[in-house]
């Protein structure tokens, strides 16, 4: 991949933006000035009677049909052409899968490493596969002018290249519920060497062979819906959950059960099986969790007293 002719998405979009914005600004100024001039000049105090009763002029009207047509065609064409840049991923781009769920991001690299921030090497194009676990989210990095919806059941993608090291905001742009505005993370652009080193560190959660349940719960978005301090969020709190009595709906019947290991495991694996009374059945199923991870999560839930 030739570094020289790699055009960044920012560099592709900004000129179009300037062009269209500029044309619009000129038009607006023109209209405003002419209008004010007419209003002042032909105000009734200066022009007590209309000095013309003209009701049209074919030539003038033709001009302002043709001229705007040409202008908008130019804007359209330029806008379309640069849009294609956003759709054409340079060869050799680094592949990352972004998984969006209510309300967190998870980025997975080719070697299986996952992270809640999107680490990318500077100067290297990155292709992000967009996967949604539940509803529609939006992958939006303003600094790189890229945005693409993350639609369940659809394989969308976006690409960008960070030309300078730094930390860039990454938003969820498509409304997805109560914590939509908190579904924010960053793109961390670091020099290639540093990136490689980071990538080859052992996977995030493992500390000395044991998974860190709290970290996992944050990364998998559990804490978006479940609080640790007893407050009611979208889902029931984790505080004091283990061993407590829970009222659940199961196959249309109400059951009173004790939250034991088996129940917690089922709640995580098949959230739809038993629905806690007074809560909506919206918890996403977590099919991608390994058994170790589930165990670690349960251990973590037990520890929240």
């Amino acid at each position: 991949m030739n570094q020289q002719d790699l055009i960044s998405t920012t560099a592709a979009i900004d000129p179009v933006f300037m062009l269209i914005f500029g044309i619009c600004l000129v038009l607006l100024l023109g209209i405003t000035v002419v209008m004010i001039a007419f209003v002042v000049r032909y105000h009734r105090s200066r022009s007590p009677q209309p000095t013309s009763q003209s009701d049209g002029n074919v030539w003038l009207e033709t001009i302002w049909i043709v001229l705007p047509t040409l202008l908008v065609l130019a804007m359209f064409w330029y806008g379309w052409k640069e849009y294609l840049v956003l759709r054409t991923v340079p060869k050799g781009a680094l592949a990352v899968t972004a998984t969006a769920r209510m309300w967190s991001w998870e980025f997975r690299y080719a070697n299986g490493k996952t992270s809640s921030k999107l680490y990318v090497p500077v100067g290297k194009p990155v292709r992000v596969e967009l996967v949604s676990k539940d509803v529609i989210h939006g992958f939006f990095v303003p600094a790189f002018r890229v945005k693409r919806d993350v639609v369940p059941g659809m394989s969308n993608y976006a690409w960008f290249v960070a030309t300078n090291p730094g930390s860039y905001d990454l938003f969820c742009s498509q409304y997805c519920g109560i914590q939509h505005s908190a579904m924010v993370t960053t793109v961390e652009a670091v020099p290639e060497v540093q990136f490689t080193a980071w990538l080859n560190q052992s996977s995030s959660g493992a500390v000395g062979g044991k998974l860190d349940g709290r970290k996992l719960a944050t990364e998998k978005g559990c804490l978006g819906c479940h609080s640790l301090d007893g407050t009611r969020k979208v889902g029931p709190t984790f505080k004091g959950l283990f061993g407590s009595k829970v009222e659940v709906m199961h196959d249309g019947k109400m059951l009173n059960i004790i939250a034991d290991d088996a129940y917690l495991k089922e709640s995580i694996r098949q959230p739809g099986a038993k629905i806690v009374e007074d809560y909506p059945p919206i918890m996403p199923a977590n099919a991608d969790l390994t058994d170790e991870q589930v165990t670690a999560l349960i251990e973590f839930i037990k520890s929240v007293k």
Partner: protein
């Protein structure tokens, strides 16, 4: 409000009392288009006031990062209800319902609309739908929190009361359809003698185009909403990927209606402006034919561009090419109108009364909104600003700065005619100055915020957006002040102000030739039209 209105009935005359009936039931069961028009005016405007307060609450919450006055769930519910009320309960039914009903039959020289009882039914359906929407706020899982777009799968999953709200919107949509078909039939069949198509006031032309959009696009919304209800209540899964559905199909169906719907909002507004500007310039409208034709062109092409709301959704690139192109095509008829309005001013004799001030500011605000629409219409630039406050700024400019200001213009222009009393001029001008200023401070700032990347429907935001958000909130307070002054002035003036008689502004359309307020069947004698709607030389 009605009770106040009745107090002064006796002195008012015209359709207020000439049928001998003035009680509440003589209003809510009246088939007189003017009474129905006023019913629409009061009901839509009441919802406007509620929604405006909600908008204000949104701005207060966004004043500073973090929690300011409410939690995220409340915020989400408020912007949803704000959007639903503004769109479905105020601006879509407002223009055709209130001013269309009040003025259109008189302007074409008819005694009433073609189906007066259907007209009443429309209003009742509107009220029933509105009542259902209001009920949805306080029952079930609480107010809907989906945004006014009700995107699936979120709207199929959320625990809030979406089904009922959606049903309310469905009923309101039915009301809109009936108004539309009533108007088309009326304009075809009830024009008075001499009222050829070439002599229709431009407001009537714009309503005609609007009515077609109402007829042909609204049913698609109806079926879409039914499907959302089915999705929630029966689990049809037509938009649920796990069951083979496609969420994007919902978006297509929704925008097939909702893009044309934005032209339901703006077309009548453009019509009013085309009526007001010649009157206050004492000069015929420039390019009557092109303006009338461009209304039809906007209605026609406006139905073909819905995909521009889906540029980032994962829709095919071919579709983006087509929809982006068509979007730019619709901009052309709007441009024609703007240039023709401005040319009308040339060599006229302009008087800056309140309706004219609102009309002129309409041109500016609509242009800003429309031009920012061009940035949204180009595929490359939309990707950056889609779903940010830039879009929010865009549509407030066109809806509020456009349709809203035109609504205010019509209130100042036509209501004195129907109430027989007028507002005070000076407060009206002060109110206009405040509103115009506050408006720009607020929404222009929001557009800048959007360009910097602040997503919309965000309850909370990063610190870097704090300053501009504060500015926008301050703008909203200036706007509030202006709006309150305007309303108080209008309210006082129309009820107790100086009498308004004859044709002080010198309009040449038929409504100015009948008594003030107009009698129940509008004219003492069926009028015969001999000149065009903007031929001011026939006067004096």
């Amino acid at each position: 409000m009605t009770s106040n209105v009745q107090r002064s009935d006796a002195t008012r005359g015209g359709f207020w009392s000439d049928s001998g009936k003035t009680g509440l039931t003589s209003w809510i069961f009246s088939t007189d288009h003017k009474r129905i028009g006023l019913l629409y005016l009061f009901s839509t405007f009441s919802f406007f006031l509620v929604a405006v307060v909600l908008g204000l609450l949104l701005r207060i919450e966004l004043m500073a990062p973090g929690r300011t006055i409410m939690g995220p769930q409340t915020y989400n519910a408020i912007f949803t209800v704000h959007g639903v009320m503004m769109i479905f309960l105020f601006i879509i039914p407002g223009f055709p319902g209130a001013f269309g009903n009040l003025v259109m039959p008189i302007q074409i020289g008819a005694r009433d609309v073609f189906f007066p009882r259907l007209n009443l039914l429309s209003w009742w359906l509107y009220i029933i739908g509105a009542a259902i929407i209001l009920t949805s706020l306080f029952t079930g899982g609480g107010p809907p929190d989906t945004g006014w777009t009700f995107y699936v799968p979120f709207s199929a999953r959320t625990g809030t009361n979406v089904s009922l709200a959606v049903f309310g919107v469905f009923v309101v949509g039915f009301s809109s359809i009936l108004t539309g078909l009533n108007f088309v039939t009326t304009i075809h069949r009830l024009r008075c003698e001499g009222m050829t198509w070439g002599r229709l006031p431009l407001f009537v032309w714009s309503l005609y185009a609007t009515a077609w959009v109402q007829i042909l696009a609204t049913p698609i919304l109806a079926i879409t909403l039914v499907l959302v209800m089915a999705e929630r209540l029966l689990g049809t899964g037509l938009f649920e990927p796990a069951q083979g559905g496609d969420p994007l199909m919902y978006q297509h169906l929704f925008w097939i209606y909702s893009h044309p719907a934005v032209y339901i909002m703006i077309l009548p507004a453009m019509g009013v402006i085309s009526d007001i500007i010649p009157v206050f310039s004492r000069k015929p409208i420039f390019g009557y034919k092109m303006i009338a034709f461009s209304s039809l062109a906007i209605a026609a092409f406006g139905s073909l561009v819905w995909g521009h709301h889906m540029f980032t959704s994962g829709m095919s690139d071919t579709a983006i090419l087509v929809f982006s192109f068509l979007t730019f095509v619709v901009a052309i008829p709007s441009a024609i109108k703007v240039f023709n309005w401005i040319s009308t001013l040339y060599k006229g004799s302009i008087s800056l009364d309140a309706p004219m001030l609102f009309a002129l500011s309409f041109i500016l605000l609509f242009s800003i909104g429309g031009l920012s629409g061009l940035i949204l219409g180009a595929a490359a630039t939309d990707v950056h600003v889609h779903d940010t406050h830039f879009v929010v700024g865009h549509f407030h400019y066109v809806i509020f700065g456009g349709s809203g200001f035109a609504f205010f213009a019509s209130m100042h222009y036509w209501l004195p005619k129907f109430f027989g009393r007028r507002y005070a001029e000076k407060p009206a001008v002060i109110a206009w100055v405040l509103m115009f200023t506050g408006f720009n401070v607020m929404y222009f700032t929001m557009q800048v915020l959007g360009m910097e990347g602040m997503p919309r429907r965000y309850y909370d935001y990063l610190p870097e957006f704090a300053n501009l958000n504060l500015v926008a909130t301050i703008g909203s307070w200036i706007l509030v002040t202006g709006l309150v002054i305007m309303l108080v002035n209008l309210f006082r003036g129309l009820l107790w102000g100086e009498p308004f008689e004859g044709n002080p502004w010198g309009g040449a359309t038929l409504e100015w030739s009948t008594a003030t307020p107009p009698p129940t069947e509008n004219f003492a004698e069926d009028p015969v039209v001999t000149h065009g709607p903007y031929d001011f030389t026939q006067q004096d």
